[in-house]
Every structure is written in structure tokens, then in C-alpha cells.
């Protein structure tokens, strides 16, 4: 009864459930080991002492229509067969195949379901024949962003999304994820203007509320069918910022702020009952792992096929699944690209697993190398170093509103960046550092109370861009 009362209280007051960290020491934030591992149907124990490859893939340049459906299905069949055959050849300990749907596959759920079925049959065949444990992560795309202003709660697109989740999990999609887009209509412009308050409003107010709405549904569907509600990614927010920073469109220090702010939004999936592994492109994963103890998927150097990043090595420091973001099914000299990327992932995982087998000291040395090779090259890498993840996470959980949580995390990230600059360990050009005092002033102007923050922000935002009632406000 006491627990129920507590849950009701935090839901009623719309504050973050987590008040302390599950992992308090940086040395415990380690690849392959999560305090709350996730066991899958065919025997993967994600976060249970092994790192597994998570392969992500997409179609080559082609249209998806009735006339090409057979070809589409053949591509996915070829990808799954090629990857699993090579995994067996490499003595893989297990593989996750992430099926991230394209627009047409969610709009017409039967297409997405058929692809899950094709791949699940192949997973089962390799499990029966070779004992290879593999699972499918099903990630329907969030169709709601096709409507502007977004109808987050009343959109006609919710129905096919939910249908794909439900029928897809019954067809063999065991791990459920999404890159949900609540708040993106505000975030996109805020990112381009380096408007830290706008981003915080998008993620910590709108994003949080949409995650509560959406993940309540996903968790309930997963529980109904005995599947695993895995996690969400702030891809459309923090990864957009990361890619824009890579193109030198916005400062890297801003992209680092956005990543930290995104934690309070993505953690809502766990508050609603998601158990991990969190999604690969959610570089906020290490913070989620520290705070909640769930296993996470990460991607780094192996995702250069999809996007560049400054996080190639450091991203794997506490990964439980190691991913490649997405690669087209095209022919390379060695073979098909997804198979080639599976090999790269497997070798990275094999190295981490060898360290895990050898013991804590070996893990620690490997992690130190992964971290030290990236940490001071970019502020986005800096904040992902385990000691900084823990420090920022501790700041995040202190606040009494999602707004304060996000603000305090971002201010701590700013402290860490400024300390690294002052010590001379990290160097950034003046066009980057000139933004630091602006961000600090902006963050310091944000009140603790969510209501006060909303009142502050509404006159500054274009009311035609979003509908408050679609966020339950």
C-alpha cells in the first residue's frame, strides 16, 4: 500500500520517480554489466556479464509500394540470414536485430508485421540449428510527426502505431522501442537558435508528458503479451543536435547540453515500466543506466555508416549491446553491408567480453582506454566519461521537478566543460566558448517550478506550433 501511495504521489505531482542512483561509483558503470539485466526468450542475458552485437539496417535506395513489396521482404530476409550465418561463423554469443520501420511499414502495419515474421523465423531457425540466441527489437517510427501542429494524443496515426506494436510483438518482436517525437515541433527551432530554454521546454515539459502518455501504452501492451518494453531514444532531439554540431551548424557545447537535458525525457520510459535495453542511438543511455540500473545499447565508431560522431570509443564504455545505428543493404567488397557491420560489432563485443572474462582489472583498463582516447576531444565525449555521467546524474536526481532536474544536470555539465577548459585538458575555439556564459545565464534564469517555467516560456513560443492539450496541459 505504501508503494502504491508513493507511485500515485509522484504521478500526481509529475515529478521524477528516481531520487538516487542505482550505480553510485564510476567504476561500477561498466560495459556488459547492469544491476538489472534483462533476460530474453531465447536466452540472451543483456547486462548479465556479456556484451552482444545489435545490428541495425535499412533498405538500399528504393521505393516501398505494392510493386516492390516482394523485393522489400527479400532484402530483410537476406539481411537476417547473412547476419546470423556470419554470427555463427564468428562464434557469436548472441545477436539483437533491430528492425526500425520506415514510414510505409508503420502506416500499413501488415508490412511491418510480415518483416518481423520473416526475420523471427530466421532467428528461430538459427536458434534450433546452431543454438544461436537472437532477438528482434521492434521500433515502429513515430508517425505523429506527420501532423503539424502535432496531435500527440488524438492523432489518427496512433492506431497503426499501436497495431504494429501489438501484432509485431506477437510475430516475434520481443524488445519494444520507439524514437518518440513529443516536443519536436518546439525543439527543432530551439536547436537552430541554440535556445537552451526552448530545448528544455520541449524535452522536460512536452517530451516528458508525451513519454508518460506513450510509454504507459507500450508497457501495458508488452505486459499483456509477455514481451520486453525496452526504451526510447531522444534521437530527434539530442542526435539532431549532435549531427548539426558535427556539420558545424551549432556549437558542440550546446549539443552536450541538449544530451544532458534529454535524460529527464528518456527516463520516463523506465518510470512507466520499461526495463531496457535502452535504444542504441540514445546516447543518454549511460545516465539512464546509472540512475535506473537498466542495461543499455550504444553505438559509436561502428555507426559511422549512418552518421559521424565524436563518441567513437567512449560510447562503448558502459554498453551492454553494441550497435551500428543503421546501414543500407548494399554490396561491399567483403559482402553485404549489414553482414560486414555485424562482423565489426562482433569483434568489438568479443574484445569487451574477453575483458569481462579476465576480470575487473582488465575491464577497468579497457574502459579507461576507451574513455581516455575520446574524452577531451569534444564536450559531448567529456560528459559521457563514467565519472562525469555519475556526477551529472547525481545533480539530475536532486531536483523536485523535471524542469529542475534537467536544468541542474545541464548546469553540472557546464561546470564539467569549464573545468576541463580551465585545466587545459580540453581546448575549444572562442566561437564555442563564447556561448558558455550565455547558456549559464539562460539556465540560471529557469525556475524550479514547472508551472512557473511554463508561464515564463509560453509568451516566448509560437502558439501555432504546438497544442498544449495534446500534452495534457
Amino acid at each position: 500500500m505504501k508503494l502504491c501511495a508513493l507511485v500515485f504521489w509522484w504521478q500526481k505531482h509529475n515529478i521524477m520517480k528516481y531520487k538516487s542512483l542505482i550505480i553510485n561509483n564510476p567504476e561500477d558503470l561498466m560495459f556488459g554489466i547492469a544491476p538489472k539485466p534483462v533476460k530474453t526468450r531465447r536466452g540472451l542475458e543483456i547486462g548479465g556479464g556479456q556484451v552482444y552485437a545489435e545490428l541495425n539496417f535499412t533498405l538500399p535506395i528504393m521505393s516501398i509500394n505494392e510493386g516492390t513489396l516482394k523485393e522489400v521482404y527479400n532484402h530483410y530476409r537476406e539481411i537476417a540470414e547473412g547476419a546470423l550465418e556470419h554470427a555463427v561463423h564468428l562464434n557469436s554469443k548472441g545477436v539483437v536485430l533491430e528492425f526500425e520501420t520506415l514510414l510505409e511499414m508503420t502506416k500499413t502495419p501488415s508490412i511491418g508485421v510480415e518483416i518481423v515474421k520473416i526475420m523471427n523465423d530466421i532467428c528461430e531457425e538459427y536458434y534450433q540449428k546452431h543454438g544461436l540466441a537472437s532477438e528482434i527489437r521492434l521500433t515502429p517510427n513515430d508517425l505523429r510527426e506527420f501532423e503539424r501542429p502535432a496531435l500527440q494524443r488524438t492523432s489518427k496515426f496512433l492506431e497503426p502505431m499501436v497495431e504494429l506494436f501489438e501484432r509485431g510483438m506477437m510475430a516475434g518482436g520481443d524488445l519494444l522501442s520507439i524514437e518518440s517525437t513529443g516536443g519536436k515541433e518546439v525543439s527543432d527551432e530551439a536547436l537552430m537558435m541554440c535556445d537552451v530554454k526552448g530545448v528544455l521546454f520541449a524535452l522536460a515539459v512536452l517530451g516528458v508528458r508525451d513519454m508518460q502518455f506513450l510509454w504507459g501504452k507500450i508497457v501495458s501492451l508488452a505486459n499483456k503479451h509477455g514481451k520486453i518494453a525496452a526504451g526510447d531514444s531522444a534521437c530527434g532531439f539530442a542526435n539532431t543536435a549532435m549531427v548539426l554540431a558535427e556539420k558545424k551548424y551549432i556549437p558542440k557545447v550546446f549539443a552536450a547540453m541538449v544530451r544532458v537535458i534529454s535524460v529527464v525525457r528518456s527516463i520516463v520510459a523506465m518510470e512507466q515500466g520499461a526495463v531496457g535495453p535502452d535504444k542504441d542511438c540514445g546516447y543518454e543511455g549511460p545516465f539512464l543506466k546509472a540512475i535506473t540500473g537498466i542495461p543499455i545499447s550504444m553505438e559509436g565508431k561502428t555507426s559511422a555508416c549512418a552518421h559521424f560522431s565524436p563518441l567513437g570509443n567512449i560510447a562503448s564504455a558502459c554498453a551492454d549491446l553494441w550497435s551500428n545505428e543503421s546501414v543500407q543493404n548494399i554490396k561491399l567488397l567483403s559482402g553485404m553491408a549489414p553482414t560486414a557491420y555485424l562482423e565489426q560489432l562482433e569483434y568489438d563485443a568479443r574484445l569487451m567480453n574477453e575483458a569481462l572474462r579476465a576480470g575487473k582489472m582488465h575491464c577497468s583498463i579497457l574502459q579507461q582506454l576507451l574513455v581516455s582516447s575520446d574524452i577531451y576531444t569534444d564536450p559531448q565525449a567529456l560528459i559521457l566519461a563514467p565519472e562525469n555521467v555519475i556526477r551529472i546524474s547525481k545533480a539530475i536526481v536532486k531536483g523536485d521537478s523535471y524542469v529542475a532536474n534537467a536544468r541542474d544536470g545541464a548546469l553540472t555539465a557546464l561546470d564539467i566543460i569549464e573545468e576541463a577548459l580551465l585545466s587545459g585538458k580540453m581546448k575549444l575555439p572562442e566561437m564555442e566558448t563564447s556561448f558558455l556564459p550565455i547558456f549559464r545565464d539562460d539556465l540560471n534564469s529557469i525556475p524550479d517550478s514547472e508551472n512557473d517555467f511554463i508561464a515564463m516560456m509560453l509568451p516566448m513560443l509560437d502558439p501555432g506550433k504546438f497544442i498544449l492539450s495534446e500534452y495534457g496541459l
Binding site: M62, L102, E104, E145, F146, M192, C194, L244, Y249
Partner: protein, 222 residues
């Protein structure tokens, strides 16, 4: 150069919108582009000269600095806002025909694709280059491009896509546009497209960044 024109050029280049605007810090407390344009008009400076000697050169400088990675997008957007404030003052002269733009540019993200950050940057820079913009938004099919072209004969068209599964829709749109008027110029942009794809679908130019789009359009207008 006239002192007002010089000040206006500086205001737009550095994104000083109006007197109240705190940005950029070095111009705090000074007139912004809104007031400077008003004063220029009141002192009898030809509005076409205001456009051609202050606003367009300012945005050219901004585009160059951005291309050379010397400024970020927010600074470019502030310049665009400052230019927008000037355009408010110049609007009656556009309406009366005493100022002419270089032409009309119709832009949109193609069918099935919602990504608009790159498209918006191109639209902003092209507008800063002295063109009228018709932004059709995202998820735009061939019919809407053709309709916009019918309403704006002689316009140049820009197509944007970010996905490998939506870039293929560019081909159909280019075919429809060329069928409507074979002389219509179409430029394309977006992460997955390149020169080879541009040639393959019969488009006229691939713009790898916003500044290259402006340069191509300016060549067409010259």
C-alpha cells in the same frame, strides 16, 4: 558608401534586429536594421539601393562566413531576422513594384519526408540573397510543386530529402515539373543525394550546402 547604408549593412551582418534587441552585445543600445532602414527611406535613399547595397551584401558576407565555419546557424538566423526587419520597412516598395527581387524560388521537402532543417536554411539564405521564397513545407508531392509553378511561372524549384527511401520521390517530381515546363530549373539537396543522382533524375543542380544554392541561383539571375 552612405553612412546609413554602411550601418545597415553592419546591423544585418551581425544580426541587430532593432534598438531593443540585446544581440549582438557589441551593438547593444544602437539602432537595428528596422530603424536604420526606416531612416534610410526617410532620407530619400532609393529602396532598391537599400536592398542591393546593404541587405544582399550583408547576407552574402554571412553566407560566406557560414561556409567557412566562422559562424554558427544561430548567428546566421539572427542576420536573417535583421534582414526580415528591414523587409518589413521595404514591403510597400515591393508591393508597388519599385523594388524587384531576383526571382521566385519554390522549395519543399519531398513526399514521405519530414526533415526540414536543411530546407529551412536554404530558404533563409536564398531569401537573403534577394529572392522571393515560396516554402511548401514538408511531405510535398509532385502535384503541389506543379501547382506552385503554375501560379509562379519562371520560378526555380528546390527539392530536399534526407532519407534513401524518399529521395527516390525526387525523380517523379522532377519529371512532372519538366513536363509542365522543360525550361524550369530544379536544384536538389539533402544528405543522401549527390551529383550523380541529380543527373540521373534530370535535375539541374545539386547543392551540397545553402551557400552553393545561393551561388547557383545568383548565376541564373545574372
Amino acid at each position: 558608401m552612405n553612412e546609413l547604408i554602411e550601418k545597415l549593412l553592419e546591423a544585418v551582418e551581425f544580426g541587430k534586429v532593432d534598438l531593443k534587441s540585446p544581440y549582438p552585445p557589441q551593438l547593444r543600445g544602437q539602432d537595428g536594421s528596422f530603424e536604420l532602414t526606416q531612416k534610410a527611406i526617410e532620407t530619400g535613399i532609393n529602396p532598391q539601393l537599400i536592398l542591393e547595397s546593404a541587405l544582399i551584401p550583408a547576407m552574402e558576407r554571412v553566407g560566406k562566413k557560414f561556409s567557412e565555419n566562422k559562424i554558427f546557424v544561430p548567428q546566421m538566423l539572427m542576420s536573417a531576422k535583421a534582414m526580415g526587419a528591414s523587409m518589413v520597412q521595404l514591403k510597400p516598395f515591393f508591393a508597388s513594384g519599385s523594388i524587384k527581387t531576383k526571382g521566385t524560388f519554390i522549395i519543399g521537402t519531398v513526399k514521405g519526408d519530414l526533415h526540414d532543417i536543411g530546407k529551412n536554411l536554404v530558404a533563409m539564405m536564398v531569401e537573403g540573397g534577394g529572392w522571393s521564397i515560396i516554402d511548401l513545407g514538408v511531405d510535398v508531392n509532385a502535384d503541389r510543386f506543379v501547382e506552385a509553378l503554375e501560379n509562379n511561372p519562371g520560378a526555380v524549384i528546390g527539392l530536399s530529402a534526407l532519407l534513401t527511401t524518399t529521395m527516390v520521390n525526387m525523380g517523379e517530381i522532377v519529371t512532372r515539373i519538366k513536363a509542365q515546363n522543360a525550361d524550369t530549373k530544379v536544384l536538389i539537396g539533402g544528405a543522401p543525394v549527390n551529383d550523380e543522382f541529380c543527373r540521373k533524375i534530370g535535375a539541374d543542380f545539386y547543392a551540397p550546402d545553402p551557400q552553393k544554392a545561393v551561388e547557383y541561383l545568383n548565376k541564373l539571375a545574372s
